[in-house]
C-alpha cells in the first residue's frame, strides 16, 4: 500500500518539522508561568489550553517533540551503530564470533526491556542521556539479529563467492556488498525502533525516570495531567495525541518501507 508509506512519511516529516520549528519559535515560552491564566480550556489564544501553572500546552507539546525525537534518534542510533557492525561480524566470521554475538543478543532479549531501562535510569540518575542509553542498549540486539540473519543469507550468494575469488577480504565484502544490500531492511527496522523508543521514552518519563523538569516531555505531561483529568482533560489529551500520531507515523513509515523494499514484491524486468 503506497498511501501508507506516503502518510507515514508525511507524519514523520511533520513531527521533525515541528521539532525543528520549536528550536527557533514557540507561541509562548513553555517554562514561563502565568498563574492568572491557569487551567484555561482550549481557545484561540491557547489552542491546547493551559496547565495548572498557566503555561501554554501547545508550546510544551511542541517543545516535547524535540525530546521525543532526540531520545528516540539517539537510542535507535546507538542500537544501529553497535548492533549492525556486530551482526555483520557475526555473519562474516561465523563460528565462535557468531555464537558469542547470537548468545549475547539472546541474553539481552531475555530481560524485560522496559524494566531494565527503569533500572538503568534509576541507577544512573534520570535524564535525557540516561534514557537514551537505557533504551538504546535494547536496540543493539535487535539490529544485531536483523543484520546477522540477512547478511548470513547473502553470504551464500554466488556474487559473494565471485567477490571472494576476486581476492576481497571479509571486511571489504561486508562493506561493499552486504551492507548496501541490507540497508533497506535496516531502515525499516530503524523506523520501527524509533516508534518503540518514543513509547519507551514516554513510559520512562511517566514514571519519573526519564526527562526531568523543566525540560518538556510528553510522558511526564501525561503523568502530571492524571490527577486533573476530571476538570482539565486537555492536559492529557494533547500529549497523548502527540505520542499516538508520532508512533503511528513511524510505524506507517516502517511498514511502507518494508512493502516497498521487500525483494519478493520488487518487480525487476528480466527479458529472456
Amino acid at each position: 500500500m503506497r498511501s501508507g508509506l506516503r502518510l507515514g512519511a508525511t507524519i514523520s516529516f511533520a513531527v521533525a518539522a515541528v521539532a525543528l520549528l520549536s528550536l527557533i519559535w514557540l507561541p509562548f515560552d513553555p517554562t514561563r508561568m502565568d498563574i492568572p491564566h491557569r487551567l484555561l480550556a482550549p481557545s484561540l489564544a491557547h489552542p491546547f489550553g493551559t496547565d495548572p501553572y498557566g503555561r501554554d500546552v501547545l508550546s510544551i507539546v511542541m517543545a516535547g517533540s524535540r525530546t521525543a525525537l532526540a531520545v528516540s534518534l539517539a537510542a535507535a542510533g546507538l542500537g544501529m551503530g553497535l548492533g549492525v557492525p556486530l551482526g555483520l561480524l557475526a555473519a562474516a566470521r561465523g563460528g565462535i564470533a557468531d555464537e558469542v554475538a547470537t548468545r549475547a543478543s539472546d541474553v539481552v532479549f531475555a530481560f524485560p526491556a522496559l524494566l531494565i531501562a527503569v533500572l538503568i535510569a534509576a541507577v544512573s540518575g534520570p535524564g535525557l542521556i540516561a534514557a537514551a542509553a537505557a533504551i538504546g542498549i535494547f536496540n543493539i540486539p535487535v539490529f544485531t539479529r536483523v543484520t546477522r540473519s540477512a547478511a548470513a543469507g547473502l553470504w551464500q550468494r554466488d556474487y559473494i563467492l565471485a567477490a571472494r575469488i576476486s581476492g576481497k577480504g571479509k571486511l571489504r565484502i561486508s562493506l561493499e556488498h552486504i551492507l548496501p544490500n541490507i540497508l533497506g531492511l535496516l531502515l525499516v527496522q530503524g523506523a520501527i525502533q524509533l516508534s518503540l523508543a518514543v513509547i519507551a521514552e514516554a513510559g520512562l518519563s511517566y514514571v519519573g525516570l526519564g526527562i526531568q523538569p523543566p525540560a518538556p516531555s510528553w510522558g511526564r505531561m501525561l503523568d502530571e495531567a492524571q490527577t486533573m483529568l476530571d476538570f482539565a482533560p486537555w492536559l492529557a489529551l494533547f500529549p497523548g495525541l502527540a505520542i499516538l500520531i508520532t508512533v503511528l507515523g513511524f510505524n506507517l513509515l516502517g511498514d511502507g518501507l518494508r512493502d516497498r523494499l521487500d525483494p519478493r514484491l520488487a518487480t525487476g524486468t528480466r527479458p529472456d
Partner: protein, 534 residues
C-alpha cells in the same frame, strides 16, 4: 469421437500484453503430447489456463474443451470438481508442491476425501494403493513419512500420486523432472509412460528438453514467443524439421561431440591429490561425539594447460564441495593442491590464475552494481590500481570479446537475460587473463539455444588463448560438447576418468554407464524411433 482435450484458438493476455496467441492443441485418451519451448515461450501459462489457475488480471479468449465440454462456461465451484478429479497436475519442484507438515499418506488421502467423498479410513487405504501404483511400496516408504524425509525422485512420485489419485482423464506435467538427476528423471519418465498405458489417461508433458519429450511423446508441439510454430508426430518432426526454429533447437540439442584435440600433455596447471572434505553433522545428544559426513574422499585431479576437463556427478556427489576447495573458498582439510607447481593457498597472485563462473545467472551479480563495476571486480587482485579510464577500456574490451556491447557497461544486471548474464560472468572471469576458469553448472540454468551459444563462445575463447576449463556439471550433453577429458564422481570419490570419447563409447564403471544411459540424447532417441518403425 471427441478428443479428450481440445484447445482451440487460445489467447492469454496479462496486463494488456498478449503472451499466448491462438494456441490450438488436442490430446487423445492414452496419448502423450509434448509441449516444447524455451523459458518465456508461454508453455506454462497454457497449462495454467487449462486448470483456470491463471494469475488475477489474466484474460483468455478461445475455447478449452474437456471431453467436449467447454471449461470456459464453468463456475468456480464446478471447476473445483474438475481440477483433481478430471485433470491432474504435476509441477516442477516437488518440495514446494507438497505440504511440508503433512505425511505423504495424508496428502494423497486428502485429495480423495475432498472430492471423492470417501471416509477417512477408505481414503487412507486407497491412498496407500495409489502410492503403490507410483512404485512407492509401503514397506520401503511408510505412509507416515514427511516430504523432507524423501529423496527428490520420491517426492515427485508423491506429487504424481496426488495428481492421479482421483483417476483423472488428463494429466498435465509441467517440467516434472527438471529439478531431478538424470537417472531419477529416467525413472519418473518410465513411470509416467506406464501410468498412461495402464489407465488410458492423456498426458500433456511440458518441457524445455527436446530429447526427453521426443523419447516419450507421440506428438509434439513447439512453442515460441506464445505461439505454436511447429507440430507433428515426434518421430518425424525432429528428423525432418521443416520449421527453422525447430531445426535450430534440434541443432542446439544435437551438437556434434567435440573433436579430439591434441592437448599439450606436458605441464600440469592445477594438480590436487588426496583431497578430503568433511562436514560436521548435528550431534545426536549433548555428550555424543561429533559425527562427520565425508563429502569428498581422497580425490586426485589434474588439469593441464589449455585443457578442458569435466567433473560429472549427480547432486550430492561432492563435486561442488570439491570445487570450493579447489578455488580456496573453503579451507583444505586434507590433501594438497598445487598450482603451477607451487602450493596453492589462495594468495592474490595465485587467485589471478584461477577464476570462476557460477550457476545462477541471477544470483552471480550484486544487483546494485553496474556491469562496469561488476566485470572490473577481479582487478582488485592486481597490485597496481588502474585509473578509471584504463579500467573502463579493459571492461569494454572484455564485454566485446564475450559478444556484448561496450555500452552495456553502464547497465544494471537485471536488464540482461540469463544468457547475457552468463556472458557478463565470463567477461568477469576473463578480465585478469587467467590460466583456468572453473564453471559450476554454469549452463544448466540456460535454455538450450542459449546454452549452445555460450558453449560456442567458450570453445572460441579457449582456442584464442591458452586457457584451461574445469566444468563441474551433471549435464552430459555439455560435457560431450566441450570437454577433452571427463572425471566421474560418485559419493565423494572419482570412480572413473578418461578422454571424453572413450568414456562415452565404453564406460567401464557401472555408475558411468547408468548416467550415460539415463541422459536423454536426441540422436539416440530418434535412432530408436526409426528402429521401432522399421
Amino acid at each position: 469421437m471427441n478428443p479428450l482435450l481440445e484447445i482451440d484458438g487460445l489467447d492469454i493476455a496479462i496486463g494488456g500484453r498478449t503472451l499466448v496467441r491462438s494456441i490450438s492443441l488436442a490430446v487423445e485418451p492414452g496419448e502423450i503430447v509434448g509441449l516444447v519451448g524455451e523459458s518465456g515461450s508461454g508453455k506454462s501459462l497454457t497449462a495454467l489456463a487449462l486448470m483456470h489457475l491463471l494469475p488475477a488480471g489474466a484474460e483468455t479468449r478461445g475455447r478449452i474443451l474437456l471431453d467436449g465440454e467447454a471449461l470456459g462456461d464453468k463456475t468456480e465451484a464446478e471447476l473445483c470438481t474438475i481440477r483433481g478429479a478430471r485433470i491432474g497436475m504435476v509441477f516442477q519442484e516437488p518440495m514446494s508442491a507438497l505440504n511440508p507438515v503433512m505425511t505423504i499418506g495424508d496428502q494423497v488421502a486428502e485429495s480423495l476425501r475432498h472430492n471423492g467423498g470417501l471416509s477417512r479410513r477408505e481414503a487412507r487405504i486407497r491412498a496407500s494403493a495409489v502410492l503403490d501404483q507410483v512404485e512407492l511400496p509401503a514397506g520401503t516408504v511408510p505412509r507416515n513419512r514427511y516430504p523432507h524425509e524423501l529423496s527428490g525422485g520420491q517426492r515427485q512420485r508423491v506429487a504424481i500420486a496426488i495428481a492421479i489419485a482421483q483417476q483423472p482423464r488428463l494429466l498435465v506435467a509441467d517440467e516434472p523432472t527438471t529439478a531431478l538427476d538424470v537417472t531419477t528423471q529416467a525413472q519418473i519418465m518410465a513411470l509416467l509412460r506406464r501410468l498412461v498405458a495402464e489407465t488410458g489417461m492423456g498426458l500433456l508433458l511440458i518441457s524445455h528438453d527436446l530429447a526427453l519429450v521426443a523419447g516419450i511423446a507421440q506428438r509434439v508441439a513447439v512453442m515460441r514467443r506464445g505461439e505454436i510454430v511447429d507440430s507433428g508426430a515426434s518421430r518425424t518432426l525432429f528428423a525432418t524439421s521443416r520449421h527453422p526454429y525447430t531445426a535450430a533447437l534440434v541443432a542446439a540439442a544435437t551438437a556434434a561431440p567435440r573433436a579430439a584435440r591434441n592437448v599439450p600433455n606436458g605441464e600440469a596447471l592445477l594438480a590436487a591429490s588426496g583431497i578430503i572434505h568433511d562436514y560436521a553433522l548435528p550431534r545426536r545428544h549433548l555428550f555424543a561425539g561429533a559425527r562427520r559426513f565425508r563429502a569428498v574422499d581422497q580425490v586426485a585431479l589434474t588439469v593441464h594447460r589449455g585443457e578442458s576437463v569435466a567433473l560429472v556427478g549427480e547432486s550430492g556427489s561432492g563435486k561442488t564441495t570439491l570445487l570450493r576447495t579447489l578455488l580456496a573458498l573453503d579451507r583444505v582439510q586434507g590433501g594438497t593442491i598445487r598450482l603451477d607447481g607451487e602450493n596453492f593457498s589462495g594468495t592474490a597472485r595465485q587467485r589471478r590464475r584461477i577464476q570462476a563462473v557460477f550457476q545462477d545467472p541471477y544470483g552471480s551479480f550484486d544487483p546494485r552494481w553496474r556491469v562496469e563495476h561488476l566485470v572490473a571486480e577481479p582487478l582488485h587482485l592486481l597490485e597496481a590500481r588502474l585509473d578509471a579510464g584504463e579500467r573502463r577500456r579493459k571492461v569494454e574490451a572484455m564485454l566485446e570479446r564475450v559478444g556484448l556491447a561496450a555500452a552495456d557497461a553502464d547497465r544494471l544486471p537485471h536488464e540482461f537475460s540469463g544468457g547475457q548474464r552468463q556472458r557478463i560472468a565470463i567477461a568477469r572471469a576473463l578480465i585478469l587473463e587467467p590460466a583456468l576458469i572453473a564453471f559450476d553448472e554454469a549452463t544448466s540454468a540456460l535454455d538450450v539455444s542459449v546454452k549452445a551459444q555460450i558453449l560456442d563462445l567458450l570453445a572460441e575463447l579457449s582456442v584464442r588463448q591458452d586457457l584451461a576449463y574445469l566444468f563441474v556439471t551433471h549435464d552430459l550433453g555439455t560435457v560431450r560438447r566441450i570437454a577433452d577429458r571427463v572425471l566421474v564422481m560418485q559419493a565423494g570419490r572419482i570412480v572413473e576418468q578418461g578422454p571424453t570419447e572413450q568414456i562415452f563409447a565404453a564406460p567401464s564403471h557401472p555408475y558411468t554407464a547408468a548416467l550415460i544411459a539415463a541422459a536423454p540424447d536426441l540422436w539416440t532417441v530418434l535412432a530408436g524411433l526409426d528402429g521401432s518403425r522399421a
